[in-house]
């Protein structure tokens, strides 16, 4: 493996490309210059911090610190999933459900991969556990957020149909089934599309990174396949938990539709 080292000057030169974006913003009067600068600065600072944290984790290989880092990641992913919801569940459910879904899906899939395919020593070695969990969480988050959003949206829009079924004595799983199907489908489509287009339409970032860092393309591809399978599995698991959770929360033991458990729309 040969890695061409990058100097700070190399990065500064690459960052100059942002001037193009800034120029577009000024010319078209988009008013995005400030946002652009802040976003770029955030990216640089966040990634540098991550590098420091990862370096520290890899040096110590402590189970407690690895678990702490994983919790922080799950926490942020949960927050992101919630922030993407236009209509949130009330109370602790709003943050708790998405977070629980991702915690369960992310940890399950990552641990399975560590225990069966990768088998590092120790099994929780942060060099493997943290990047894997990150990949799985990042993608599961999209599915979870989409699924929750779509279910809430369908239940609100098709309220008359759902309540007509309930009024005729259908149970909540029967009455919610059409909306649940729409939501799960919408949430799974992106990961399916990604699988179909990978390699043809785009080269996944992780694989590209590995190849640039000098890895054998075949090895990089194998890793990428593993990651995509993990992402697909994690998304499926996370979406089912999140969608079923929303369905459970927006109904009750008397099989009523409880849209009153949605917080008012933001904005």
């Amino acid at each position: 493996m040969t890695t061409i080292p990058l100097s700070t000057l190399d990065l500064v030169l690459a960052a100059l490309l942002l001037i193009i974006n800034g120029w577009i913003s000024v010319r078209l009067d988009l008013g995005l210059e400030r946002t652009l600068a802040v976003a770029a600065a955030r990216m640089v600072v966040q990634l540098l911090l991550v590098a420091l944290v990862l370096r520290m984790l890899f040096e110590t290989v402590s189970p407690a610190l690895t678990a702490l880092a994983a919790s922080v990641m799950v926490g942020f992913a949960g927050y992101e999933a919630m922030a993407r919801q236009d209509r949130r569940l009330t109370g602790a459910w709003s943050y708790g459900l998405g977070t629980t879904a991702m915690l369960f899906a992310g940890v399950t899939v990552t641990v399975v991969a560590l225990a069966t395919q990768l088998r590092p020593d120790p099994w929780f070695h942060p060099r493997y556990a943290i990047p894997l969990l990150g990949m799985v969480l990042g993608n599961t988050m999209t599915g979870v957020a989409l699924g929750m959003e779509r279910l809430v949206d369908s239940l609100r829009r098709d309220r008359l149909a759902v309540e007509s079924m309930l009024a005729l004595g259908y149970t909540r799983p029967e009455a919610f089934r059409p909306a649940v199907r729409v939501a799960v489908r919408a949430a799974l489509i992106p990961v399916i599309n990604t699988m179909a287009a990978t390699g043809l339409v785009f080269l996944p970032g992780m694989m590209t990174g590995q190849i640039l860092a000098g890895a054998d393309p075949m090895l990089a591809v194998k890793y990428q396949m593993l990651v995509i399978f993990l992402i697909a599995g994690g998304t499926g698991l996370g979406v089912i938990i999140a969608v079923k959770g929303v369905a459970y929360r927006l109904s009750d033991g008397r099989h009523r539709l409880r849209l009153d458990r949605l917080a008012p729309a933001r904005r």
Partner: protein, 202 residues
């Protein structure tokens, strides 16, 4: 008239004031009042579609003794506009109910073959009558009819009223919301009015 079929006591469903009423076997009770007075909310509360406290009984059994779906199959609320969840009309009837549905739709003067039509091709007035048939085939004990003829012409309205009269028997009852004063007068054995969430004798 026979013994009480449906008994409601101190039903609280804000913003409505607590409601008590009783439906005798074979009785039609009409509630009239302006839009927004809370007539639909009252029906939804009785059908257990919205949370409400208070006592509701069918025969002498408390509502809590049934599951929500069991209760609503017996005490069925019919919204003024029915909801659809499948593409074709017939898919909204359970297999066992389809023959009965054909007979009912014929009695409601709907064209033969309407069951096979896509929901998108059904007119508002047809939809309202199909909605009624959908409830009736399940043989509920109490019907909570919310403006049951609001989309119908006079002939259609008469057909519905006649069908309801035939359906009624000693162990069944109907609560009907109507802002059509003449209809309330024609149909009901007893009348109440709802104003600002408050139910009173007409």
């Amino acid at each position: 008239m026979t013994a009480a079929v449906l008994r409601v006591e101190g039903l609280r469903r804000p913003p409505l004031e607590p409601v008590s009423l009783c439906l005798a076997g074979g009785e039609i009770l009409a509630v009239s009042g302006p839009s927004g007075a809370g007539k639909s909310l009252l029906m939804r509360a009785i059908a257990d579609l919205d949370p409400a406290s208070g006592a509701v009984q069918l025969d002498d059994r408390r509502r809590e003794d049934w599951s929500g779906p069991q209760w609503r199959a017996l005490v069925t609320y019919l919204p003024p506009v029915p909801g659809w969840w499948e593409d074709r009309v017939i898919d909204h009837f359970r297999d066992a109910h389809r023959d009965a549905a054909r007979d009912l739709l014929e009695a409601l003067a709907l064209p033969g073959g309407i069951l096979e039509r896509p929901v998108a091709d059904v007119s508002t007035g047809e939809a309202q009558r199909i909605g009624l048939a959908r409830a009736l085939v399940q043989q509920p004990r109490v019907l909570l009819l919310d403006e049951p003829t609001s989309s119908l012409d006079p002939a259609g309205t008469r057909q519905v009223e006649r069908l309801l009269g035939d359906w009624l028997s000693g162990d069944r009852a109907i609560l009907v919301n109507s802002h059509d004063e003449e209809q309330a007068e024609r149909l009901a054995h007893r009348r109440l009015t709802m104003n600002n969430g408050r139910l009173a004798a007409a």
